[in-house]
Amino acid sequence: MAGLERLMPTSELKTNALKAFRPGPYNPLFFKYDPVFDALKIQIVPPETKTIVHYVDDYVGLLYTPDDLEIVGLQVEAFEHGFLPSHDAVRRVWRLSDSCELEDFGDMILAVERAKPEVAREVVKATKDTLDEPISEALEHAYA
């Protein structure tokens, strides 16, 4: 795209927060899917955290906090429209997490919660080629 400059080099972004993150019941990954914009956000900080998007390709942006430049998550755009159809493994776990076939609401919530880390892992695997290796490894660690 002509004209607009990249204002922040990827090399300036930090991975300390991702490396220090230990996912668990008291330290969850935060998911948010916006069906109107068709974007999935997966982050290690609560949704009210202020973040900036740093695009790495035409689907994926890293989310980082402006004060310390720490990467805290990913935003995947055109998620259902374009990203899922080209990533079978992500599509499988996403459909599972999105399933309404379970009759019991509690079972459905559990199934969704169980599927979330798997969605996160598959998204990171799918985006590995577009990310610098240290960032990719830090995301894999955080979403493990």
């Binding site: 607009l4 204002l7 922040m8 973040t51 695009y55 035409d58 402006p66 755009e77 055109a78």
Partner: protein
């Protein structure tokens, strides 16, 4: 459903942003946008460089406004000449695959 603002882009197209979009999509998805209604409106009225077509959706157009260290990015869905803001957030970089549609080069 009330509008947070209405704006007219440089081509004369009218764009609205509803309070439902502002509260439930922009602020909940991107809390950094709190208090930036004026910047979103300005991005539509006087976009930096130009107006871009979205990388994946033909009916979406993208406006950027350069701030100090970031751009405010606004994504608008058009139905004919009438546009509706669907999201807005801060980014430090353009997205690959977006192409400029205004102004059009005369070369």
């Amino acid at each position: 459903m009330a509008n947070v603002f209405e704006a007219t882009d440089p081509r004369g197209r009218r764009v609205t942003c509803t309070d439902e979009t502002w509260d439930n999509h922009i602020l909940t998805g991107h809390p950094i946008m709190e208090g930036q209604e004026g910047d979103v409106q300005a991005a539509i009225q006087k976009p930096t460089i130009g107006i871009f077509r979205d990388a994946h959706f033909e009916d979406r157009e993208v406006y950027y406004l350069l701030k100090r260290r970031t751009y405010v990015k606004v994504v608008v869905r058009f139905d004919g000449d009438v546009g509706t803001v669907i999201t807005a957030f801060e980014t430090d970089s353009p997205k690959r695959g977006e192409r400029m549609i205004w102004p059009v080069s005369s070369d």
